[in-house]
């Protein structure tokens, strides 16, 4: 890997990491959707840069498919849902955004430990790749747990999925094209179904506040 590629790779890894922290620290949902688009673009470009193969049609199609879905389609869908259900901000359910960023920094420490440990047995890539992948997974989980708005939980799921995608593209060599395409299609279907569910939640509860979904218990 030449020094230019390495520099671009580090910028993309840094963008992914900062985007995850920004999601934890931001309350404006429209800003969150845009940050998620940036994260989708960075995560979509990373595997192509790390690939040992030449730019085959397979790599280009998957890269473009990922970027179109994660950097354009999903954020657009989420922005539309935010507009339709008239929600602007998510102050957080259990902890505020400041505390969430602090927990995020703790997650970075855990991700560094996990990424270094697991990465040692995996195909060799710049050290930060596995760390960022685990960091995105942990941040996604954290967003699902600590945020109040259902739409923000979907953004958490997408962040988690971005982490798993990054991990998979580095850790496993030679995944069949149809399978990668199938996984992408499944994620698309998941976001589509979640979007439809969000509208139903809003229609029924006049809000997408996930903390109100607590009637069923015991």
């Amino acid at each position: 890997m030449d020094s230019h590629t390495l520099a671009i790779l580090n910028i993309l890894l840094g963008t992914s990491m900062v985007s995850a922290l920004a999601l934890l620290g931001t309350t404006r949902l429209r800003t969150c959707a845009r940050v998620l688009a940036g994260q989708g673009l960075a995560v979509g470009l990373l595997p192509a840069l790390m690939s040992d193969e030449q730019f085959t049609i397979r790599i280009v199609v998957l890269m473009v498919g990922n970027i179109v879905l994660k950097a354009v389609v999903f954020p657009w869908l989420l922005l539309r849902v935010c507009r339709d259900v008239s929600v602007r901000r998510d102050p957080g359910a259990f902890i505020g955004t400041g505390a969430a960023v602090l927990v995020g920094v703790l997650c970075l420490g855990i991700a560094a430990w996990l990424g270094t440990m697991v990465g040692a047995s995996l195909p060799s890539h710049p050290a930060g790749v596995y760390i960022v992948a685990f960091f995105l997974i942990l941040t996604g989980l954290l967003l699902i747990i600590v945020r109040r708005r259902a739409v923000m939980q979907v953004m958490g799921y997408l962040t988690l999925e971005n982490g798993i995608y990054l991990f998979g593209s580095c850790a496993v060599i030679g995944v069949p094209f149809l399978l990668e395409f199938g996984v992408l299609l499944d994620v698309f279907a998941a976001i589509f179904v979640m979007g439809a569910a969000l509208r139903q939640i809003h229609a029924q509860f006049s809000s997408d506040d996930a903390t109100k979904l607590s009637e069923l218990s015991g």
């Binding site: 998979g168 979640m194 569910a197």
Partner: protein, 481 residues
């Protein structure tokens, strides 16, 4: 077999009557059941396993046993849906739009679950399992009321995150194999062949992700939180399908990895199965004691039974045999229990166990069927669950797992007493004045008594072909490298 239910579901959009869509679903699942029997015969008649699509699809004794259970659950559920939704149609709650969506998603769920069972490619198996979540989510909230939508959201989010973890496990297991030959690393047969050469640390990490991920969908405690909500809010045929088979399909995915992780780290996979299984027996015991909702009680009971099955897989060949036998028995008994409570819930207008009283007089078929199915579920002889639980206990004794045995017996005893108390109240209590006895449909008699009859028959005598099928399937789980 994979595409036919999906195509039939789409074709259902051309039909103009809800009952015709339900009849189509019953016809398709009936044919599917017939095809499953033929497939079973073919698998056991041939010395080789069936492979197709460049080894991507594969049917062996373990998968065909589960395909039979899937077909049985779906066929029974489709027949029951004819009676269940007839009353919803009459009350104006099940129009043509809803029926078309239901038919398409119900049959799409069948295709997705079959894909899980026939995939040799572990990535494709994951795609199938994720698809089951997406196509069945709407079935939970079909009627669109607030609790149902809440249940659907929890189901969607919790299971999607769980299945994402399972994908991480799938990737780690592929990464644990020598990567020289590229695409093969995701094939189950390749991992089985390479068991001796896998990276043990990565495979252990993979199994942790897999058991937590697929275990979430299987309803293993403590990841079971979505299950009581989704089961209690879904229409009864959907609840029966969820408990009767979908949970087993998720556990099937975990068990596929068991011989692989055991080859790299002996004892690790079995201990994990026993740990999660035992927790799944103990946790629902606490919730069933004070439960008031009949469907939630049955949902917690499913957590318990999936726990018993998981424990069985961790207990050697005898335990694996018991687990597979228990899978079939639980599918039969739990389907019938949900059929019964679903129909009784319609009659009483509630699933509250304080309201459902004197069910034996209110419905001469589903009242006794509820009693019979719950007695079967709590392990009363001569029902087959008694036999499979007894075999699980024997496996514990054979391995001198005394602490496990003591805690297991504590959990099942608490559930036995609690559920017996609940069901006797529902069946024999004093019927409310506003509930008139119902003349049962002959079809419901046939359906209920064939399920109950099968449970009694399997409890006293196991047909040799079934024993052979279960033994062959258990050998795959316990095969040595």
């Amino acid at each position: 077999m994979l595409a036919a239910p999906l195509i039939a579901g789409i074709a259902g959009f051309a039909l103009k009557s809800p009952m015709n869509i339900l009849r189509l679903a019953a016809l398709v699942t009936g044919l599917f059941f017939g095809a499953s029997v033929l497939l079973t015969v073919q698998v056991f008649a041939s010395p080789e396993v069936l492979l197709s699509a460049d080894r991507t699809l594969r049917v062996d004794a373990f998968s065909v046993f589960h395909i039979l259970a899937l077909a049985l659950t779906y066929f029974g559920g489709s027949l029951f849906a004819l009676a269940y939704f007839r009353h919803e149609i009459a009350s104006g709650h099940f129009g043509i739009t809803l029926a078309r969506r239901y038919g398409a998603l119900w049959l799409a769920g069948l295709s997705a679950m079959l894909l899980v069972l026939v995939s040799n490619n572990l990535g494709l198996m994951w795609v199938g399992m994720e698809t089951t979540t997406l196509v069945t989510a709407y079935l939970v909230a079909m009627h669109g009321d607030a609790p149902a939508i809440e249940a659907m959201w929890k189901y969607l989010i919790v299971c999607s995150v769980g299945i994402a973890f399972a994908f991480m496990g799938t990737l780690l297991s592929a990464a644990s194999a020598p990567q020289a030959d590229g695409a093969d690393t995701l094939l189950w047969t390749h991992l089985m062949d390479q068991r001796a050469n896998l990276n043990p640390q990565l495979m252990k990490a993979a199994f942790v992700f897999l058991i937590v991920g697929y275990g979430t969908k299987a309803g293993l405690a403590p990841m079971h939180t979505w299950l009581p909500d989704a089961h209690s809010q879904a229409p009864a045929p959907v609840s029966a399908m969820f408990s009767g088979f979908m949970l087993n399909a998720a556990l099937y995915c975990v068990v596929r990895y068991l011989p692989i992780v055991e080859a790299t780290s002996p004892g690790f996979g079995h201990k994990a199965m026993i740990g999660f299984g035992l927790f799944s027996v103990l946790v629902p015991a606490a919730f069933i004691i004070f439960q008031r909702d009949a469907k939630r009680m049955l949902a917690y009971c499913s957590v318990e039974h999936l726990g018993i099955i998981a424990i069985g897989y961790g207990l050697g060949p005898l335990g694996a045999f018991a687990a597979l036998f228990h899978t079939l028995n639980h599918s039969l008994a739990k389907s019938l229990a949900f059929f019964s409570i679903g129909r009784l819930g319609q009659i009483y207008g509630s699933n509250d166990m304080g309201r459902i009283r004197g069910a034996i007089g209110a419905h001469p078929v589903y009242g006794p069927a509820l009693l019979g199915s719950v007695l079967a579920l709590i392990g009363v002889a001569p029902f087959a669950i008694f036999a499979s639980e007894f075999q699980t206990v024997r496996a514990m004794v054979a391995q001198t797992q005394w602490w496990l045995l003591a805690l297991f017996l504590l959990g099942v005893s608490v559930i036995f007493i609690s559920m017996l108390r609940h069901v006797t109240g529902m069946v024999f209590g004093e019927r409310p004045d506003d509930i008139e006895p119902i003349e049962p449909h002959p079809g419901s008699k046939l359906l209920s008594f064939s399920f109950l009859g099968a449970l009694v028959l399997l409890g006293v005598w196991m047909p040799p072909p079934l024993r052979h099928a279960i033994e062959s399937a258990a050998q795959i789980v316990w095969s040595q490298p």
